[in-house]
Symmetry: C2
Subunit: 192 residues, 2 copies
Amino acid sequence: MQIATRNQVSEDVFLLCGGWGFRFFQLPDRRRQILNFLLPGDLFSATSVFEERFHFSVKALTEIQISGMRRAEVQARIATNPGILTALAKFCIAETEAADRMQTALGQYSAEERIAYLLLHLMQRIAARSVIREQRFPFPLRQQHIADAVGLTSVHVSRIFGLFRERRILALSEGVLQVFNLPELERIGLLS
Amino acid sequence: MQIATRNQVSEDVFLLCGGWGFRFFQLPDRRRQILNFLLPGDLFSATSVFEERFHFSVKALTEIQISGMRRAEVQARIATNPGILTALAKFCIAETEAADRMQTALGQYSAEERIAYLLLHLMQRIAARSVIREQRFPFPLRQQHIADAVGLTSVHVSRIFGLFRERRILALSEGVLQVFNLPELERIGLLS
DNA sequence: CGATCGGTTGATATGAATCAACGTGCGTGG
DNA sequence: CCACGCACGTTGATTCATATCAACCGATCG
């Protein structure tokens, strides 16, 4: 379900309170790039506090809850309460660093490396939000989402998952990602 | 010449006053990803105002002048003068949007499209800083830099430049990029 | 004068895309 | 309740874009 569209004007700053979403660019042909995945607690984007229009689109991946705050009000709060600015800066730093790392993955990594990197990054973010037992992560993405995020086709993503499964590194089914061999996954996807 | 190194701690926020540089990640093998190019007037990164250590490395491409400001002082100024925060936010927005577009280029574009996109983006930034006559842009990058920025080999970059030259779209030599057919370059590299 | 750097070009290899077929589960309308 | 269509994933055959390896050239510089 589309939540926001590039160039759309909004007076609100949005926070994802529950569920999963993703931020993306749609090209005029069929191609699209998923820029990142949104998890509970994420602002759509730190910069949206100062931008009156979205420079990206957003879709929901599951049922979601979002909360909107008036931009003018958020800005006023920043002026009076410096703690808010610090929190915003922290979020912005995380976002920027994640973007830089993803850019590196897209420019330099092989298919296996890119997928491993994406999974590790998501696992870390999921684990920060809920307790993980036996390395089983809730994981609502379809292979097409992974493909659009790491710049591969879904066919090729399927092959790589087949390899990972065969090598007993991980398995993905029914919305659950189970990791059997974390060190190996990290060896593949944690290049820096 | 290396100017800054990943994980290095610094109490200063840096501004590039003259010359060209670039921000990058170096991988343990030979690979590196150039994250963006720095032109006069650019902060190394907007987030460095709130980060005490670099999460990236920086190298100079030409002779450069840089100016450092105490981070604590910059933060104090923000608190008293809201105009500085607005300016910082504007820079951060431009940086973020450029990163999102580059991520899209790396994930979705062909070699020709990526190079055309990079050149157009740089041309726009160069033109914002100096008057351009006859579509001749000062351009100190080597083909290896372009390769590392768009995730190709320098050999392949050379072939694509050969094609562009042959098709009378542009030519690059002696530090000058000359564009003969801007509409065609835009058709190739301006997909969204 | 030799060495190094940046760029070009050709031959070949390879990783990922494309095209196509098939299976399975699921929702929906008859 | 069944039949059909559709979304998602898998697998095989083939093609294509880009990488790799290698040779060579001209400019520059110690």
